[in-house]
Symmetry: C2
Subunit: 257 residues, 2 copies
């Protein structure tokens, strides 16, 4: 039997505000066994970019990353947000290691080709070095991954944290019995968008298709769930979509085969 591994993806909002960060650190520390944290940082990037006189341009919820914005996200995601989390986890006795995809070549990507939109220095993931990450995790190290990858040609690329979480979970499924948590601002996938308590407890692929047909699951939740099923098909044991404060696995929407 493979060892359990919990991978938590949290959005920027949670790690950027002291109160929610404190709660996350407490909850994350309480997770037994091997674990990985993947974080965003978009709000801080937007704020610091604005202070530097750089305007944030978003298309379909994704950041347009020109050369100047790339410097900002490299500073904010790889430096400020990542190292703040790592130092705080160290204080909790967690042997955290902050990483971007370029460190030890753990996540290789390519610059997204320009179709309708030129996203700039944005990466689509090609490969996650699961063997190396597994090796670190086996040693008791807890990787804390910022949403930055590289192309192997000297370029850092801004990369969606949900995608990094999914790809990392898939790469580690060979070595561990992986549960992946996508944390967001709701308790889970909702049956009724207006009722925060109408969480759908389990979704399999068949139910997902039906929910989409019925218009119950719409918008940004569709790619999130497609990502989840994609991870499940690649060997990830379980995906949970829930609040960051519910990473004890006792609530949220569980996605299984």
């Amino acid at each position: 039997m493979k060892q359990q591994l919990t991978i938590i993806k949290v959005g920027g909002k949670i790690v950027e505000e002291e109160e929610t960060l404190q709660q996350l650190l407490k909850d994350f520390t309480a997770i037994p066994g091997a674990k990985v944290l993947i974080h965003g940082g978009g709000r801080s990037a937007t704020k610091i970019a604005a202070q530097l006189g750089i305007e944030s341009q978003m298309v379909n919820g994704r950041r347009i990353t020109d050369a100047e914005m790339l410097k900002v996200v490299t500073m904010v995601y790889g430096g400020l947000v990542n190292k703040t989390i790592v130092s705080r986890l160290q204080a909790e006795g967690i042997n955290a290691l902050g990483l971007t995809g370029t460190d030890m070549d753990i996540i290789r990507s390519h610059k997204r080709p320009v179709k309708d939109v030129d996203y700039g220095f944005v990466g689509d993931v090609d490969a996650v070095n699961g063997a190396l990450l597994s090796d670190l995790i086996q040693k008791g190290i807890v990787p804390v991954i910022a949403p930055l990858t590289h192309d192997g040609k000297g370029n850092i690329l801004n990369t969606n944290a949900d995608t990094i979480a999914g790809e990392t979970a898939k790469a580690l499924a060979k070595y561990f019995d992986v549960t992946l948590f996508y944390c967001f601002e709701k308790k889970g996938v909702l049956q009724d968008a207006d009722d925060d308590n109408s969480v759908i407890p389990y979704i399999n692929e068949e139910a997902f298709k039906q929910y989409v047909e019925e218009g119950v699951i719409v918008g940004g939740m569709i790619p999130k769930l497609e990502n989840a099923f994609n991870a499940i098909h690649a060997g990830v044991n379980k995906v949970v979509i829930t609040l960051a404060s519910a990473i004890d696995g006792k609530s949220g929407t569980i996605i299984e085969k």
Copy 2:
């Protein structure tokens, strides 16, 4: 016989300008065997702080680091400068890993006590985890270390890169035959400050004392050399003070017992 290890400390200026960075990457890549890079980033920090409306205050060449400045150096040293170097080294086929002292608890420090000057969030190094660094290096990984440490209580501390280099060299001397290069803007320690070619090729402790007595070695070079002898006494094989473009070890001032 222990394996050779080369530790290179370069100042901010070298890694912040494209031309000198390119040369450094080329020279660093050419160093055979195990290696570690330790970098500064002060100029970029000053520039970005200014753009954010934060004034840089220096006392005796050291940066006063209040809470806002700590955010800047965490972003710039740990994010922008560190990850830029790492991604560029990866493109050269070097398996670089960007680290700050908080990552895997590799460099523990304490906040400098306030005496005449309150330097703020500045760390004095207590311990470098040589065993862990050695383990990574043995695996072919090249640590690239930013001048940030932590106190184990959740605080990142701004830390002098020369000190980090010296302490890292000392901690690794147990595992390797260490040569430490302090790179700066001169060819070496000069006999005559006005003659850039008057490099003193070798200095031992006795000669050092004499040079100081005679007023040949003055100012900031005195603590640099004291650091060097300190490293030598702790088992470091050789310290070289030279230009970043001379890390082939064929020029500069060599400090030995």
